[in-house]
Amino acid sequence: MKTEQSPLQKPVRVINIGLERFAEDLRSADIPVIQMDWRPPAGGDPRLIALLDRLAEEA
């Protein structure tokens, strides 16, 4: 493993998916962060999600 590949060497910049409080804590520590507006895919319907995933794989 090369040292430059270490995940510990990169500056921390975060995409936050879920609890906004975690993004706020990072922001207040001056860490670049993007809060996603995450919602359950396909209205949360497991059958539709599986279908979407299959379509994506085929594509």
């Binding site: 510990l8 910049r13 975060v14 995409i15 409080r21 804590d25 359950p40 949360g44």
Partner: protein, 511 residues
């Protein structure tokens, strides 16, 4: 009783937010129950299980929010429902305008933050694997706070991460620090030369706080999730984390925290660690391994102290208490008032509960770990799944503990209790004033139930945490609560209160 059901169409809210609002509204005397759930299949089953399903609630789909209120009157139920809607619509105070743009798609988020290094996921477990997979595919390290992720999915995610030289911290990872940046429930600490690998969030918090008190800092703390050292997961992330910290130029000592690992995993870890130049201090709760590959600590604070000694080249001196004179004075003042009585431990941190239970078992014999067991002493992790179904985690909402304490008092289960042992875990993500909530619950015990058990609290926090740790301690002590900064010290002190025979053993260090 009046019951009101309200459906907010196409309104997705995170379950933690919903449970916090519900929990606050339930504090009103005239409100018996507030249930707020998204209308997913799982939540419909949960509502049915607790007998709260209504004709109207069945109409809600996965994107709709169900608000059910049971109160003394229709007027109160309606008012509480409106208050819930108002609270949900309020933006959190201090929310930064820069956070206002919220992409829905990962690709869009990456256009706004093209050099993103990590994705932090705290969404329901049933959807988390799909999103975590997408993040790894985009080359992002993953901090997976979500629980309820199957072990097969965990193995797949971690193998994928490993193939790509990425971290998959979790599932069920509460805390991590990368390059000094805290993720999840993280205490505010200084950077330093101790690297950590942790299968336990609150265990890691206890260690980093102790390191901070010993004037040491953390280089990185890699969370791996509670199952990483199981036979199935085979320590995939722990092994990778050891490699990374061994190569890290800043890390001088490594602390590894976990439940006892599977024997096959131990062999693999020993093989890796014996070839490393960085010393590894382990704390495998309740297990001491043969051999000398690891420097083995029995408790979390001992792991921190051993690591600090290795870093600064000093000898480690085992001790039961940092300030034995203070403990001696406390015992003198207490006398034998709690001797022979029950211990009731109500913890928000699972690893802290386990550590206290292991220490108390040594002195008291049996100690139950569930409120359902009929053993005199109990030490319970209120963050365990059995107590958090449809409830917020008590580190976020300590009122959960208040309710449990009051329930125990009402059922007569605190009548022979001499000591109540609790933890307050501070830091980012946690409740902002857990001391106030605890003091209120103790007041209720005293004034409404005439119960005066000795209250012992352990505070896990640093002076830089947002809760004002010193202020929390002062408030607790003013309310007659004895405060310790170390979990093991609190447990030993409790043992000495109810079993005075062990005082000689623990107090022999007093000069």
């Amino acid at each position: 009783m009046a019951c009101s059901t309200h459906i907010l169409k196409s309104s997705y809210y995170d379950s933690v937010v919903l449970m916090r609002v519900a929990s606050q509204l339930k504090k009103q005397d005239e409100v018996a129950e507030v249930a707020m759930f998204m209308g997913t299949e799982g939540n419909h089953a949960l509502l049915a299980q607790v007998g709260l399903t209504t004709e109207k609630s069945r109409e809600a789909g996965p994107q709709d929010l169900i608000i059910i209120v049971i109160a003394d009157s229709d007027e109160c139920a309606g008012r509480t429902t409106q208050e819930a809607i108002r609270m949900l619509s309020e933006r959190a105070p201090g929310q930064n305008a820069e956070l206002d743009y919220r992409p829905r798609m990962l690709d869009t988020a990456l256009k706004f933050l093209p050099d993103a290094s990590l994705a932090a996921l705290s969404i329901p477990g049933e959807f988390a694997v799909r999103e975590a997979t997408a993040c790894l595919d985009k080359g992002l390290n993953v901090f997976l706070f979500s629980d309820n992720v199957g072990i097969e999915a965990e193995i797949t995610l971690k193998n994928k991460a490993r193939e790509k030289n990425l971290l998959c911290m979790g599932p069920d990872c509460g805390t991590a620090y990368i390059n000094g940046v805290g993720l999840g429930f993280a205490n505010v600490i200084k950077s330093g030369r101790i690297g950590c690998i942790a299968a336990s969030g609150t265990g890691l918090q206890a260690v980093v706080c102790e390191l901070e008190r010993l004037r040491e800092g953390v280089s990185h703390a890699i969370g791996v999730g509670g199952r990483d050292l199981s036979r199935e997961v085979n320590g995939t992330m722990t092994r990778y984390a050891l490699e990374l910290l061994e190569q890290d130029p800043v890390t001088e000592v490594i602390v590894l925290l976990s439940k006892p690992p599977h024997a096959d995993v131990v062999a693999a870890l020993e093989s890796i660690c014996s070839a490393m130049s960085t010393p590894v201090v382990t704390c495998f709760q309740g297990a001491r391994l043969p051999g000398s590959t690891f420097v083995q600590a029995a408790t979390l604070d001992e792991a921190a102290a051993m690591a600090a000694c290795l870093a600064n080249g000093s000898d480690y001196q085992p001790r039961s208490f940092a300030d034995p004179n203070r403990v001696f004075d406390l015992l003198e003042r207490m006398g034998d008032t709690a001797a022979g009585k029950r211990v009731v431990g109500l913890f928000t941190g699972g690893t802290l509960a386990k550590e206290a239970q292991l220490l108390l078992v040594k002195e008291l014999g049996s100690v139950a770990t569930s409120l359902d067991e009929e053993i005199a002493h109990i030490v319970v992790d209120l963050g365990d799944d059995q107590y958090t179904i449809g409830r917020p985690h008590p580190m976020i909402a300590p009122e959960t503990r208040t309710e449990k304490l009051v329930e125990l008092a009402q059922n007569g289960n605190l009548a022979s209790c001499g000591v109540v042992l609790v933890d307050l875990v501070l830091g980012n993500g946690s409740h902002l004033d857990p001391a106030a909530e605890l003091i209120e619950s103790i007041d209720t015990l005293r004034t409404k139930h005439g119960l005066y058990p000795e209250i012992i609290a352990v505070i896990v926090g640093t002076e830089m945490d947002p809760q004002d740790t010193e202020g929390q301690i002062i408030a607790l002590e003013r309310a007659g609560i004895t405060v310790f900064r170390s979990n093991s010290e609190a447990a030993r002190y409790v043992a000495m209160l109810v079993a005075p025979a062990c005082r000689t053993h623990y107090m022999k260090e007093r000069a």
